[in-house]
Symmetry: D2
Subunit: 203 residues, 4 copies
């Protein structure tokens, strides 16, 4: 029997869609202040590139791509469900529902089932894929700080993972949301809060 714990990391990219991250995307104007302010796209590109070099598994955790019939007759639409419905956000077979051109998956990356709400784990196979790949540490980046990122981080801890958040690899609707996640909430429950530079140096 092995008597030690081998640690194995994965980078989880949450919702790097054109609707969020590209000029012309449905939410670009809403998020661009923090995305540009954090230098987020450039940071994600560096992180992805380093992870590929170091053979760290990359997993995309994408939001549901809105399609005909979605959200109809639901009992309890939350504000975020309603927003997705009204905007037809990440519409299936549309440019807005594609990943940002510079953040595309490559062969060997994994793509988890779509999430309907915020956590990349809830109602998806993300935990299962991590287990089948022997991964016990997750590194989170993407959109949106206080919704999908915060929820995925919280679920990660509840599921027994070591959770790292890249604090300049995320964006939001405003700096208040970033602050709530990075300063007020994550330090209470997360394991490691790093800049892109610190994360890359740690590999």
């Amino acid at each position: 029997m092995a008597t030690f714990q081998s640690n194995k990391k994965a980078l989880i990219l949450i919702d790097p869609f054109n609707d969020f991250l590209s000029e012309g995307g449905k939410l670009w104007d809403t998020v661009k202040e923090t995305v540009i302010g954090n230098n987020m796209i450039s940071n994600l590109k560096k992180i992805i590139s380093e992870c590929r070099k170091k053979q760290i598994q990359i997993i995309y955790a994408p939001h549901r791509k809105t399609q005909k019939g979605d959200y109809l007759n639901w009992n309890f639409l939350s504000p975020s469900h309603l927003g997705s419905y009204n905007l037809n956000l990440f519409e299936i077979n549309s440019w807005g529902g594609e990943f940002h051109p510079e953040l595309q998956p490559q062969e060997g990356d994994l793509i988890a089932q779509n999430h309907w709400t915020a956590s990349g784990f809830a109602n998806t196979d993300l935990d299962f894929l991590l287990k089948q790949h022997g991964i016990n540490q997750i590194v989170l980046a993407g959109m949106r700080a206080n919704t999908c990122i915060d929820s995925t981080a919280r679920y990660g801890v509840e599921l027994g993972y070591h959770v790292t958040l890249i604090k300049d690899g995320i964006g939001a609707f405003n700096w208040e949301e970033i602050k709530a996640t990075v300063e007020t909430n994550f330090p209470n429950y997360g394991h490691s809060l790093l800049t892109t530079e610190e994360f890359i140096a740690s590999l």
Copy 2:
């Protein structure tokens, strides 16, 4: 406050793929004895038709459609994972991975996320969809009796649902498997075990 429980049913159709249920499907020769013996296709058609008339929600719970990269580098392939991999079962974009022509979804039906293993609930959004539609009773039919059907039924009970099994709406590799589910296991944990005729009469 409402002081009573309103009950609302859904029919859950598990894996009604050509690879199982149509001549020429990859597992047709393996399952045809029980599928034909139970008159399963004809029974499913009757059930689906009655459910549509009575506006009972129909939800498809489909298995993962095998695609490039699936199962690679997994730690622990189970015999059923290995079987799916070796057969390229329910191959994506293939006829075998389509639903049987007489058991096709219609507008208003729901299709849950794909399951990797056996339970239609595990690592999918099936529980979430049922909750959003106010459904607390599930009726199970499809393939395969002692794997996907039995596992989905067990999960259903653990998740708090009332679970009905249509005993002549299922098939398997042999009658021993049907017997294990219908006679030995389900009566210990399931709520209602009905023939197609009994189920339709109960609506």
Copy 3:
């Protein structure tokens, strides 16, 4: 078949322990500013009393009571796990691990399994108990705003529940934490944000 959705509420009381809410509790000095500022104990008493009158189910969702062996040899202690371990928080068989004397359960209330981290749903039977009691709407109050309350609310939405937060029925380590939950985060994903008075008026 019923053609409408009957709604049924439960009040979920999270961690109303002496260690949080009573003078002399291990975290009383840390939380008293917000607990007193929100008039939280008095508000919870009113809410509990009204729920009993209206026969709304009350469910306690308590944190793990620290005992010998807990957290030993864990791979990834989060800051909150470490805090619980270091303080011997909610110690089993101690006064600090009892519920506040004015917020005691009565016959007919339910007590969910203990949670190890923050969400009252994670690794517990809370979802199962709610389903078995036909409840699809939850109302949250207790401690601590940006950890257990926020996480339980997020899980509630992911699990398909309608989620109400009593904004003056919660406390935290400081007002910044309250603000992050009540102003910045919950309005994005929660269904209803009410004062004690508004909640009681709504019953």
Copy 4:
């Protein structure tokens, strides 16, 4: 980064209560044919002893100990819930709800939250405890073959674990149930089916 998967096992003991395994227990007369026939108690003692020597983590996965109020006002009692209720099975603070005297936990063993139905994983912290201890392989023994054992095994596979079943470390109401699990079902989804002797030789 570690580039290999270290495997770490745990022995999961399911429901080794006096009510099942001791003369005078409420279900002893019902299960004694298979428990004695499999030489189950003696086998479990050997397995536990070997696991302790090899420092393999032992985890108890116990059923809910029936107490006042349990199962009252539930929507959907399954036959097994009803049986537990009617027999007052594993009654809290009773001898029947204690573990068999020769299968007692020792310091360093873990005890998961109680399960209400059959799977040791459902609505409990078993998955979380396994993750926090870096365990990715589980070995199952205990009671009852086609309910708790089969359900826990199925959940284990869905959760990404390697699952071993000790085929003479289990009991049931009759040999038909044992056969359904050991011959008909487990070989389709489980990873390893061993006798006590084979398991010990493999350590």
